[in-house]
Symmetry: C2
Subunit: 227 residues, 2 copies
């Protein structure tokens, strides 16, 4: 690749990273607002989250096209190729995170005008929403700055998400549960959406780690879910 081609290629790669970071912002905001909609039975917010997911999908498809065109035109060397393939996968993870935020918003809409979350579980769900947001903000800065330290912290924050998830389940199946089966089903699904959202955030971070360190095992380790 000639010097000026290389320069243009670096600019294109950077633009793809910028899109990924933008996607973390959008799906972070989506999950944040979906949590509010779920807790406060806010139909307007729920509808706006559901509608806004189109934007994430559009960014995902646009990024796919750009990455494919770059691969086809530039025939990049192994390292650059891996970066582009990783970007395709990160984009798919982020697109799925948008879907999961939309699922939470749909749950809010389904139970409107009441909240799907009983009062005593509000703080658990709020906490899961907060951890989800921390995860995705961190994922964004890992993409932007290749910050491996943040990637480690993110793993332990995802452990916190898994603990919250298990704690939520424990409350559902406790003999003192008084909110009936429908609410238990809703909370089971909501818990699963938050947990999967966290898994995808970790998957994105691991792909960045893999690009930087070549540690394939770290990149492919699965965030365990024992459900």
């Amino acid at each position: 690749m000639s010097g000026s081609l290389r320069e243009q290629f670096e600019i294109d790669l950077k633009a793809i990273d910028d899109t990924l970071v933008e996607m973390t912002r959008l799906v972070g905001s989506a999950m944040n607002r979906a949590t509010t909609a779920l807790l406060d039975a806010d139909l307007v917010i729920a509808e706006s989250v559901i509608a806004a997911d189109e934007q994430v999908d559009a960014l995902h498809h646009d990024l796919e096209e750009r990455a494919l065109v770059l691969i086809a035109r530039m025939a990049p060397v192994a390292t650059d190729l891996r970066a582009l393939i990783a970007a395709l996968r990160m984009s798919a993870d982020l697109e799925r995170m948008g879907d999961l935020a939309r699922h939470v918003a749909k749950l809010a809409r389904l139970r409107y005008p009441r909240s799907a979350v009983p009062a005593e579980l509000r703080s658990d769900v709020l906490h899961m929403g907060q951890v989800a947001e921390q995860l995705v903000v961190k994922t964004g800065s890992i993409i932007a700055s290749r910050d491996l330290k943040a990637a480690e912290e993110l793993e332990s924050e995802d452990d916190e998400m898994d603990q919250l998830h298990r704690g939520l389940f424990a409350k559902l199946v406790d003999p003192t549960w008084t909110h009936g089966v429908e609410t238990a089903v809703d909370i089971t699904l909501a818990g699963r959406y938050y947990e999967r959202y966290g898994d995808h955030a970790v998957a994105v971070a691991r792909r960045v780690v893999f690009l930087v360190t070549g540690d394939h095992l770290a990149a492919h380790g699965e965030s365990s879910s024992n459900s």
Copy 2:
């Protein structure tokens, strides 16, 4: 690309398709056996499904490496490049289907020695397992033969899965439900695993349709899940 290079490339592409078909067989067998383990509380089968998922993961990683090496070495033209990128995505979908079968098997293991499925829901779960198997068998033949007619049938079979899923939920939240919250939570998760398994099978089929017809919308349509 020279004639003999082209010939070798076709052989390599075909080998990748063969691996994808092999993966459909493995994840089909895994979900089939996981359903048996779940219904019959069979711990031996559950453990074997959980252990066998490694094989699917290994095929997935091997396929990824081969596709990346092909892209890097052959600098394929747009159509071939799209086929390879699609193969990477199909492999990721199939790997996830293996995870979902493993999740069903883990649910069987968690509730052993009793079955997680109450007697009156056995036929629903069995039916979901059967549809899952039909879907994945059809997905395999769509990959192998580019059979677009089968791809259409698969969409309607996935609709059947979605209906079964909704029917299962309706039974859980019916006032006559007598099996308690823990069982409702288990069935909610199991239902979600089967439904997502079907979604991924459809996603794989749509990628094949996209490769053959270039119909991007069909390839990117999301199998709706209203939960």
